[in-house]
């Protein structure tokens, strides 16, 4: 498979306080074949340039939202981005087939621990479930959805020295995406992309 062009759309409204997402973003910038866009940097007033963003989508095969989870969803600018860029006639509707067959995934960090994101946990839903609106966005726009790549307990990851390993895994994921090594149908069945990547790693495929 020829090399896939990966677009990382990064959204963090308080970049200067970021402990996890900023290192992840900077690591992504290092991977060849990956285009990294800091949305809050480009549109500090949320005045998103629709033409430019649509052009970017056309030029890539894989679309990644990278963000810290805010109230079980994305930071505001990613919602704004969806509302503006995914136009009728471009992303959906009979003529709106421009995004068909692209891969889509979320790389997110969550403050709560993994056991909180269970039916029995205090957050009651898994992150996969909480991201259903984005999964359905992918479905309606004809994109192939991958489960979220997640880091839990993000507020203490720095102190517990878990960031390094996560960044390495993240770069491995991006390289695998560029090389077209991710089998979407197999990965789709995993609750989180992290599980699928561990399997690949165990099989020596990363």
């Amino acid at each position: 498979m020829s090399s896939q062009r990966v677009l990382v759309l990064y959204a963090h409204p308080a970049n200067h306080r970021s402990e996890v997402n900023l290192p992840l973003y900077e690591a992504a910038c290092q991977v060849p074949g990956v285009t990294c866009i800091d949305l809050y940097y480009q549109y500090p007033t949320l005045n998103i340039d629709i033409d430019r963003e649509q052009q970017r989508l056309l030029e890539h095969d894989v679309v990644v939202f990278q963000f810290p989870m805010y109230w079980y969803s994305t930071p505001a600018i990613l919602k704004e981005w969806q509302d503006l860029v995914l136009e009728y006639g471009f992303a959906y509707g009979t003529q709106g087939t421009k995004l068909n067959d692209k891969l889509f995934l979320c790389a997110l960090t969550a403050g709560g621990h993994e056991d909180a994101y269970q039916t029995q946990g205090y957050n009651h839903f898994t992150v996969r479930e909480l991201m259903y609106p984005l999964e359905q966005m992918a479905a309606l726009t004809g994109m192939r959805y991958l489960p979220p790549f997640a880091l839990f307990g993000a507020r203490t990851a720095l102190e517990e020295e878990r960031i390094g390993a996560h960044v390495t895994r993240w770069q491995q994921l991006l390289k695998a995406l560029v090389d077209g090594k991710i089998n979407q149908r197999k990965a789709y069945k995993a609750e989180k992309l992290n599980h699928y990547l561990s399997e690949l790693d165990a099989a020596g495929d990363l």
């Binding site: 629709i50 009979t94 067959d101 004809g142 192939r144 959805y145």
Partner: protein, 650 residues
């Protein structure tokens, strides 16, 4: 008269040729001046005995330099460095003096002479070292800062030394001299206010004159400068600055204190003043010329007769003194924890004897402390050690620094901290807001304005503002334009702002220049002058008021916000087109027909673009949140499954 012109011309020619050549060869300007002096003096014999007279005059350059050093040092900073000043400086002077004295004693010199020699060689050359630090950008390094504290302490220590040396006078020298120079001494005393005063009164006079300098500098200088500044005459400001420095020097000499100390104090007092940069830029050229002259006279004063007679002795003495001083400095660097390349910079830069050594030598001769022959030999040693100093700096640059550079990358980072300064030219209504925003975000700004009352008003609110015309290159230089991250041009005159932008972009092509425009035409002129970013002063406030008008008329605030955005976006694009049309049309003086036509066309564009959405069309520019067409949902298939399903599509 002719002879003065000729002499001045010879000195200037020597400097003009030797200094740039020395600089090009990497030897530094000080060595250039020294060589120039040697060439016109002992080698070519173009100048003669008058060099000693000129040297006394040129020593005033040192006084001016200390004034400028003081200006750079706020009292707070001086207080912060008190430990280094007293500890490092004090131990250096005591240590070096004791070591040199011990050796002199070993050579069989009497105690009084040995002590005097020790004191003379304890001093280093403030002029050479600071000048070289500036040229090589070493001032802010740890080694540079420590060397500076030592130099400062030495300069201050000269004063008690001058008071102490006469007590060491040798009885037989005094007797011999008393018959010869009786008259001359009388003549000298005329100029002293304190010669016949008892000790306690002398102390009082000294305290009083220091109080005059400090209080005068603090309370009187500002009204005076403001008065002069309001006249708008540049040369009178220069005259005032000179008057201040010369006046203090005169006062200090009258009461028997060091003029250098007096002007240094005045400099410290004025370091907080809004006129600081203006004073610096006025005094700086005088200082440079006089110091240069001073070094030339040092070179010219080298007596080749004595030198060739005692060549080996003098060379050995010089090397011995420098080695001894360097060892003392190295020992201190261990005690005070100065590490790595800074240690070597500290030790090597201060190993020479200095210009105050000459001052002390001639003074000790007058006071009959040192016999003439010894003094002549010693002054050659002092000169030779100053001559060798640039060589030590080259040694540091080429041999020592590269060794340490590899592993000192971390320190590199914290020395850059000072950079990133923003210079704001013009602090009227516009510049003030910019300054407040930047300062609130911890950015260091240097604010310049040519209206003294404006600066004054701003200072009352605690802002760091300085009086001065930003169009003057010297002032920009002293404000630190070379190290600045950017310059914001917000001055209140169309012509001046364009001129300033042109100058800045021409002289510092990589400097970012942000400019305030009065209107479209002024904006174009700024753009063609090279400004990186231009904002029209009324544009955004007018858009806001226009937006408020729409809101008052019942438009939804969020809709108004969108319309403002669209207007802004289109205007941005349009102004690009208009700029090029304006360039083609005229040489920027007037708006031609073509431009007018284009302007009207673009106005129509904006109007129609803004209106499209209101008529329910699918606007090309305003697509924000435009809903899909009615009935669009009927087209969706029921089998459009989630996720993996869509991969089945071909």
């Amino acid at each position: 008269m002719t002879i003065y012109f000729l002499q001045a011309f010879i000195y200037l020619v020597a400097a003009v040729i030797a200094v740039p050549v020395a600089k090009r060869l990497g030897l530094g300007s000080v060595l250039g001046y020294l060589i120039a002096g040697v060439i016109i003096g002992p080698v070519a014999g173009l100048v003669g005995d008058e060099t000693t007279t000129i040297q006394h005059f040129a020593e005033f350059g040192v006084v001016m330099m200390l004034f400028l050093v003081g200006l750079e040092l706020e009292p707070k900073m001086l207080w912060a460095m008190r430990n280094r000043l007293m500890g490092l400086g004090g131990l250096q002077v005591v240590g070096s003096a004791a070591a040199v004295m011990a050796i002199a004693l070993a050579f069989g010199q009497p105690v009084s002479i040995a002590l005097t020699i020790g004191l003379i060689f304890a001093l280093s050359s403030t002029a050479i070292v600071l000048q070289t630090f500036n040229e090589k950008g070493l001032t802010k390094t740890e080694g540079g800062k420590n060397a500076f504290s030592v130099l400062l302490f030495q300069d201050i220590a000269v004063i008690p030394m001058l008071a102490f040396i006469p007590l060491l006078a040798l009885p037989e020298l005094v007797e011999k001299a008393q018959q010869a120079v009786g008259n001359a001494a009388e003549h000298h005393e005329e100029f002293s206010l304190v010669a016949h005063l008892p000790g306690w009164a002398y102390g009082l006079v000294i305290l009083a004159s220091i109080a005059v300098v400090v209080a005068g500098g603090h309370y009187l200088s500002r009204p005076l400068f403001r008065f002069v500044a309001s006249s708008g005459l540049r040369e009178i400001f220069t005259a005032t600055a000179l008057m201040l420095v010369v006046g203090i020097a005169a006062l200090m000499s009258l009461v028997g204190l060091s003029p250098a100390l007096g002007t240094f104090l005045a400099g410290v007092v004025l370091a907080n003043s809004e006129f600081r940069h203006e004073l610096e830029s006025n005094i700086d050229p005088f200082k440079g010329l006089l110091l240069g002259l001073f070094f030339i006279t040092v070179g010219a004063g080298i007596d080749f007769g004595i030198l060739s007679e005692q060549l080996i002795v003098i060379i050995l003495l010089t090397l011995g003194v420098m080695l001894l001083k360097a060892l003392v400095l190295l020992a201190l660097s261990f005690i005070f924890g100065i590490k790595g390349s800074d240690r070597w910079l500290f030790a090597l830069s201060l190993a020479q004897a200095g210009e105050f050594g000459f001052v002390l030598l001639s003074f000790s001769m007058q006071q009959h402390v040192l016999p003439l022959e010894l003094a002549q030999t010693l002054s050659l040693v002092v000169a030779l050690s100053m001559f060798l100093t640039p060589g030590l700096f080259i040694l540091f640059d080429k041999v020592i620094l590269p060794k340490f550079e590899a592993n000192s990358n971390e320190r590199e980072a914290d020395t850059i901290e000072e950079k990133g300064t923003v210079i704001i030219a013009g602090i009227g209504r516009f510049g003030q807001i910019i300054n407040r925003l930047l300062v609130a975000n911890g950015i260091h700004t240097v604010v310049l304005d040519h209206q003294a009352d404006q600066v004054d008003a701003l200072r009352r609110y605690g802002a760091k503002a300085y009086f001065g015309d930003a169009l003057r290159p010297e002032l920009l230089h002293t404000a630190g334009v070379e190290e600045a991250a950017m310059v914001v041009v917000a001055i209140d005159s169309r012509e001046s702002s364009i001129e300033l932008v042109k100058y800045l972009k021409h002289t510092y092509p990589h400097l970012k220049v942000l400019a305030r425009a009065f209107d479209r035409g002024h904006g174009y002129l700024l753009r063609s002058a090279g400004a990186d970013y231009i904002e029209s002063e009324t544009y955004h406030s007018a858009l806001q008021v226009g937006g408020q008008a729409l809101r008052e008329l019942g438009f939804h605030p969020f809709f108004v916000e969108k319309q403002i955005n669209i207007y802004h976006e289109l205007d941005d694009k349009a102004s690009d087109v208009l700029y090029h049309a304006w360039q083609d049309d005229s040489e920027g003086e007037r708006f031609d027909n073509n431009y007018r036509q284009l302007f009207m066309d673009l106005e129509d564009n904006i109007k129609s673009a803004v209106q499209q959405d209101r008529f329910g069309k699918f606007a090309s520019t305003d697509r924000h949140w435009t809903p899909p067409p009615k009935g669009y949902a009927d087209d969706f298939d029921d089998d459009n499954e989630a996720g993996a399903g869509s991969t089945e599509k071909t």
